[in-house]
């Protein structure tokens, strides 16, 4: 191949071509799997609802029962369990309270069972389940961890890094092609290779922005467990050590969930809401304190703050913002799965995923076809 003005391609171009070819080829098979599982995960809310994993939302009610009533209902129905977390999502699940329970004495969030109550009646709903017991939970474990736990997340980050290299080097490799072929034109009638190459470059140019976002966020999410552990041992660990005190009974803390809710809300800026309450005695709280997550709207909706509420006195002990790396990972989640903009955004995500799936396969075919034709020429030359 010759470069500009018929000259041989530059070293910069050749280096990028090499990077584009090999980074893509190494990532091809895992990336195909990520695209396939990712397509299903875009619609995880709809699939979970259709499979009865999440109950239908009754809508907001003016007469919500106290949170403590829901907690008591769940504890009465499951005496060998304790509540680890309570979640309130007025946007996606209005009128429902999500309770994550775990066996008494256990603190591991990976072993929690999700239960739901109606906020208006504090009645326990039939639907309950472990996240890894659902179809989307299974696919998420494959997509995010390759069934290898936190090590698998790092493998995912490595694949994302390879794809990122492939995208950026692909932009460099694209330049000579753009000088020869008009945007959206396919050189038909001159063999399948040129048509596939034009398709590859055209679709690659169209999905580049989306692919950069999804790949970069996928890379960051690969460090999710590592960052959470770092945060739990670092900033959160320091707060936990600073506010040690006599532990409370994690099944029945003296101050109930409503007390913690009110105290955290009073310490948050006006207009903010409580989204989650971690019970005393979990990895993300202390033996004496609730950790209440509060957020606002717009950018503040994603960048929540943690409020430590004393479960014995009901007073706020400390308020902490997330460290920058936790903020980056928190923001990465919706940007990666595209589940924050309703059906139109999900359809855009699906279209881009399928187009990316196509150029991944067709890129591998282009490499294989070139290799095959070179071998054939070599055989003909030596014959």
């Amino acid at each position: 191949m010759t470069g500009k003005n018929g000259k041989a391609p530059s070293r910069w171009y050749r280096a990028n071509l090499w990077l584009h070819r090999w980074a893509s080829l190494v990532a091809t098979l895992p990336f195909l799997m990520l695209c396939l599982t990712g397509t299903v995960l875009i619609f995880h809310e709809e699939i979970d609802a259709a499979m009865g994993m999440v109950p239908p939302t009754p809508g907001l009610s003016a007469t919500d029962r106290p949170l403590a009533e829901s907690v008591d209902t769940v504890l009465a129905a499951h005496p060998d369990e304790k509540v680890a977390l309570v979640g309130i999502d007025t946007n996606d699940h209005p009128g429902l309270l999500l309770l994550a329970t775990v066996r008494n004495g256990d603190t591991n969030f990976d072993r929690t069972t999700l239960r739901f109550t109606h906020l208006a009646s504090a009645k326990l709903l039939d639907q309950s389940g472990r996240e890894d017991g659902t179809l989307t939970g299974f696919l998420l474990e494959l997509h995010a961890q390759w069934f290898m736990g936190p090590i698998g997340e790092l493998v995912g980050a490595l694949i994302a890094l390879l794809v990122l290299v492939s995208l950026l080097s692909g932009l460099v490799v694209y330049a000579p092609h753009a000088r020869r072929v008009a945007f959206g034109a396919f050189r038909r009638g001159r063999g399948p290779r040129l048509v596939q190459l034009d398709l590859h470059n055209f679709i690659g140019a169209v999905v580049l922005g989306w692919a950069l976002v999804v790949t970069l966020t996928g890379f960051l999410l690969g460090f999710g467990t590592l960052a959470t552990g770092l945060w739990a041992q670092g900033e959160l660990g320091r707060v936990q050590q600073q506010f040690q005190g006599a532990p409370v009974d994690p099944r029945h803390p003296p101050v109930d969930a409503d007390g913690a809710y009110r105290a955290a809300l009073a310490a948050a800026p006006q207009g903010w809401a409580v989204t989650s309450i971690f019970w005393p005695g979990t990895d993300y709280s202390t033996g004496r304190h609730y950790t209440v997550l509060v957020n606002g709207s717009g950018l503040d909706e994603k960048l929540f703050r943690a409020v430590l509420v004393d479960a014995a006195t009901g007073k706020v002990a400390a308020t902490a913002e997330m460290p920058w790396y936790m903020k980056a990972i928190t923001l990465s989640q919706p940007l990666h799965f595209g589940d924050y903009g309703g059906l139109p955004l999900k359809l855009l995500w699906t279209a881009c995923t399928w187009l990316t799936l196509f150029i991944t396969g067709n890129g591998a075919w282009l490499w294989w076809d070139r290799r095959r034709s070179r071998r054939r020429k070599l055989t003909e030359a030596t014959a």
Partner: protein
């Protein structure tokens, strides 16, 4: 031969798409449609380019097949 889209224009289109994707997450709900349009702009432009080529090819084909061409 017609020149294709240079690298800078493709990078700019990618940046517009990224702005739409991030803007939709962080921006006010009232701007969602604008941000969605920005996010989908590369696809729309790509689709428009393909459609334009098809129309152009169809017109040229009809011109080629026109009886006046025999004279």
């Amino acid at each position: 031969m017609m020149r294709g889209w240079p690298r800078g224009r493709i990078a700019l289109l990618a940046l517009v798409s990224i702005t739409g994707i991030v803007g939709m997450l962080l921006g006010d709900g009232a701007w969602d449609w604008l941000f969605l349009a920005l996010a989908a702009l590369p696809l729309l432009i790509g689709g428009a380019a393909l459609a334009a080529r098809h129309v152009r090819a169809a017109i040229l084909k009809r011109c080629d097949n026109h009886p006046a061409g025999d004279y």
